[in-house]
Subunit: 159 residues, 2 copies
DNA sequence: CTTGTATACTTGAGGTCGCAAGCAATATAG
DNA sequence: CTATATTGCTTGCGACCTCAAGTATACAAG
């Protein structure tokens, strides 16, 4: 009756072991990384992600909607996230002359400094918890494999 | 002045391209998969994940704390998630005779039926959005690579 | 110019999650 | 046995996110 052993993790869906590990690894890693960012610099992983996107953008400026699509957040999500960054003085709104609908999110000088402040420790955290587990080739292959997954927005099916 | 091109995604942190794709792919995939589960069966991805863990457990029963650690949820998180599954009648509480602290989560007959109801369509979704992007070997390698990442709980550092 | 549609953005409501704090039961040490 | 930790679990609170709905701007067709 109790003869079946069933190890807790194995024997689930053999074909989908990769998917399960993907799920678990993401949950564990983002929790740890976000926690470290939060305690060290008072920003969440998403905050940092958005700040970095602006950091690398031309003129440190991006349309809010493009920013949302890049970090895979809903339009309302980006509004609320930027609200926090604006309150902190790291990001400012900038209206578009040619199209009154669009608003840009612009990194302020303080925001630029903040990114550079967080950068090295966060990169070290990623190195420790993620990158160091793989060789350079493995990282490259991992990136290639993950790059095949659908982002549902990048080049959306435009009739 | 506007001569720098800077493609939106590239040129970020060359070494950490894999990490970024990992983040994006997870956000996009879980949104899509959870949305499909929600509309088709009224359960979230996490709900399904928990139900499946119980489905594969001996006697369809797991200590709540072990369940939490397996799906990488905080203790309070598991309490609230199971609250919903209990309200729906898919999971029941079961007290432990030998240790009054622990409570088991047990899959009910309705819960068992629910899992089997969701199973095939969800597996097909995973196949479509995830697994089909890779060959069998690639899936295996992906699983191996992802398996190296820290889960921060599996064999926690026990002095 | 007017009507209809698409886009950019914001707001309200509701759901999910983690942290901190607290309670009860068990294990360990003296 | 008593004192102290540890473990399992729950609750209050706040943070965050999405969906639905609403506003404003732009564009396309008649």
């Amino acid at each position: 009756m109790s003869s079946q052993v069933l190890r807790p993790q194995a024997s689930i869906e053999p074909d989908h072991a990769a998917w399960l590990r993907f799920l678990r690894a993401h949950a564990a890693l983002t929790r740890e990384l976000s926690g470290r960012l939060e305690t060290a610099h008072g920003v969440s992983l998403r905050d940092y992600d958005v700040l970095v996107q602006l950091y690398h953008a031309p003129d440190h400026r991006l349309r809010r909607i493009d920013l949302a699509r890049t970090v895979i957040l809903s339009p309302s999500g980006i509004t609320r996230l930027l609200e926090g960054l604006e309150r902190a003085g790291w990001v400012a709104k900038h209206h578009c002359d040619s199209d009154q609908r669009v608003t840009y999110a612009v990194l302020t000088d303080a925001g630029l400094a903040k990114v550079e402040d967080c950068r090295s420790t966060h990169l070290a955290d990623i190195e420790e918890l993620f990158a160091s587990r793989f060789s350079a080739e493995e990282r490259e292959q991992l990136a290639e494999l993950l790059g095949r997954l659908p982002l549902a927005d990048a080049g959306a099916c435009n009739g």
